[in-house]
Symmetry: C2
Subunit: 144 residues, 2 copies
């Protein structure tokens, strides 16, 4: 595959996560001001974890549901199975890594600004017919 290239884009100001008035893009979560909400999500006993189309569709649905802005999406299908995917957002990112053999996927959803990552959880649960979804929340940049 050679050396992977670098893909760069200059965003329009309208989709910048860091605008002149940064307060607009900080989050107040349970009374705590922070740079963004980072959800660490473990999906267990799930299905469709080797279906790259389902995974892409699901990532896009999460972006839409959260009210986020998609800047770039990349999915990688491994042999013999497993998918890694990242969605770069104006509000940060979503990542997924799947282990279809054990019906497990590890995701993280990091969103600043007005995007609402929590609403992605039912989207994920439904898409992957997951019997168990664990969510841990980290408030990033609390003490900046």
């Amino acid at each position: 595959m050679g050396t992977p290239g670098t893909d760069r884009k200059k965003a329009k100001p309208a989709v910048s996560p860091v605008i002149a008035d940064r307060n607009d893009h900080f989050v107040v979560r349970n009374g705590v001001r922070c740079a963004g909400v980072h959800l660490i999500v473990d999906v267990h006993q799930a299905h469709g974890l080797d279906d790259i189309d389902l995974i892409e569709t699901t990532l896009r649905r999460c972006v839409d549901a959260a009210g986020a802005t998609l800047l770039h999406i990349h999915l990688h299908h491994f042999q013999p199975n497993g998918v890694s995917g990242v969605a770069v957002l104006a509000e940060s990112h979503i990542s997924i890594h799947t282990w279809p053999d054990i019906d497990y996927a590890a995701l993280d959803l990091f969103m600043c600004g007005r995007a609402t990552p929590d609403v992605c959880i039912p989207v994920l649960r439904k898409a992957f017919k997951a019997k168990r979804v664990e969510v841990n929340e980290i408030l990033r940049g609390r003490d900046t």
Copy 2:
């Protein structure tokens, strides 16, 4: 910018994070078997956080230092400042989001297999001349 495209690649088997003998790619960390080590890294009082070349070089150095395999890298430079970057690895991913106005960057480094994310911390500290680096470790997929 229109609808972002999807970039997909089929990996050669050699770079798959999920191979037939999955045990090779699980990690035993402090006696705990898990799918991978996920480091949540906050970089404070740092410099160079709007320098996209420095950030790309640093991500690539982290990949090399960790002994990981880079599959895809994407950086996005925001206006008026700030960079988001993701490196998709055969072993999972690294992400960075910077807030140059407050000298803060939020990263996460998720690596399975034999890659060693810990060694990226001094690389990050040096590259960004960070006065304070916070690292929180999550062992993903412990109970799979």
